[in-house]
Amino acid sequence: MNGTATAPIVTISGLTKRFGSNRALHDVDLTVARGEVVVLLGLSGSGKSTLLRHIDGLESPSEGSLDVLGERVETLSQKSLRSLRSRVAMIFQQFELVPSLTVLENVLTGALSRLSGPRLGVWTYPRALRRQALGHLDRVGLLEKAYERSELLSGGQQQRVAIARALMQEPQILLADEPVASLDPESSEQVMRLIREIAADDGLTVICSLHQVDLALGWGDRIVGLRHGEVVLDTPTDGLTKSQVMEVYGRVTPTAELRAIETELATESLLLTRGAEA
């Protein structure tokens, strides 16, 4: 990982995080190159969210170090942390919009770090930012919803608003924490495609956590598998098969593998039946 073309934008070494006696991350090493699209794969509780929160400077490590955008995260002051966070955008499973505010105002909150002091109402933001926010809404295909209350939108639309809000930060890194876990398959696909398109167009580095192997395989450049807070898989997606990924998770006993396949078959037949009924 040397040379300017693949200069690392995130370098994590020996990262361990403990919450009381609970160990969320253990000795995690991870290097992400500029422009790379990485999927963090793992069950809930495997440490994906905690890892993402560290990269955004929302958590400080118990041990180890993080370099993000050339900053040594664990040594930063509150002020420098805020400046780092403003360059790293994050979207969430539950979207985390303010339900009673308009879509446009929610998008504008993404630019708060560029303003001093709080803002209330769309008209308290500078005109240039309002125009920019409308541009981002157009980009995610929701310009006509700009003045609707965000709670009136569907889940998929809310996540696209959250993406527009992230774009307001003009970020270099986009972190996505289970962005489609609360969405139906169709909206999921739409959101995942949108993230991919934006990453390609803007040269964004993306780190996205998922728990669905199917989504991950066709989507990222590279898969990093987490299990009980440890990296158990780190491999390019090219040529990777589902069974190879599943092996990492269900490798301990043959019965577990069998069970995984059984469940997969059961889920698929259930979906087929539902499809037939509809």
């Binding site: 793992g42 069950l43 994050m90 969430f92 708060l112 930060q169 019965t255």
Partner: protein, 258 residues
């Protein structure tokens, strides 16, 4: 849609493991003991009161007398009445607005999820408890000594200070019940603490804050007559100054026999 399966069952605790024995928690036991003690004390207290049904019947005559003396209530003239009602409304509105404004920083300190430090949280709560504990009539009496009789300022101050107790408590509750997500989103985007509060919390709690302020306005309006009697310029004031109305109306307003 394939999702990852849970780790193999051999890692998991066995389902038929015995449930841990149920313990009586000390806090529950203490609560029960206090409840029993309070009940016992109430029964004892009631038994020591000189409370008999014949006493109740004997007081009926007293009650009749009081109501008879209220009979010709003399109200001020229509113009005076309109002025006094307007003045009362003004005092109550201003007092409630002042209280609501003071309550915002107090609630911010007192709410668990926004307080900057644990010590300041206790300060916020203490302000709420103390202002709730001192009745507005007492505050009005104290303030009326510093202003001219009938001036509206003591009333505004009394309502403004006393209402902070309830309003800040309910404001803080609303903050604590708000969803942390939007705040986190603003923090994750590099927002400051004040931007987190005004951008992520305030829009969520605003409807509840308005409801609380209106509820307190209603309470304050009802309580304003007695504030007037305490020497604060409001519709209760004529009841307190014998020169402007009859002593009988004064008696009615104060609820005591002349």
């Amino acid at each position: 849609m394939t999702t990852l399966e849970a780790p193999p069952a051999t890692d998991l605790p066995r389902a038929e493991a015995p449930a841990p024995p149920r313990l009586i928690r000390p806090s529950r036991l203490a609560a029960l003991l206090v409840l029993v003690a309070m009940l016992a004390f109430s029964i004892y207290a009631l038994s020591t009161l000189d409370f008999t049904w014949s006493n109740v019947l004997g007081s009926v005559a007293n009650a009749v007398k009081v109501f008879q003396e209220m009979d010709p209530i003399s109200l001020p003239g229509p113009a005076d009445l309109a002025y006094l009602i307007g003045l009362t409304l003004g005092i109550v509105i201003l007092g409630t607005v002042v209280a609501a404004l003071i309550s915002v920083p107090v609630a911010w300190l007192a709410a668990e999820n926004t307080t900057p430090a644990a010590g300041l949280r206790w300060l916020g709560r203490a302000v709420g408890v103390v202002t709730r504990a001192v009745p507005d009539v007492v505050l009005a009496l104290a303030f009326s000594l510093t202003f001219a009789l009938g001036s509206p300022l003591p009333g505004i101050f009394a309502i403004g200070i006393h209402s902070v107790g309830m309003i800040s408590k309910l404001f803080a509750d609303a903050i604590e019940h708000s969803d942390d997500g939007p705040r986190l989103a603003i923090r994750a985007a590099g927002g400051s603490r004040s931007q987190e509060f005004w951008g992520g919390v305030f829009p969520q709690v605003l409807p509840s804050w308005i409801a609380t302020a209106l509820h307190r306005f209603d309470i304050n309006l009802r309580g304003s007559a007695i504030l007037g009697y305490a020497g604060v310029g409001a519709s209760g004031t004529p009841c307190a100054s014998p020169s402007s109305t009859s002593p009988r109306a004064t008696a009615a307003a104060s609820g005591s026999r002349p």
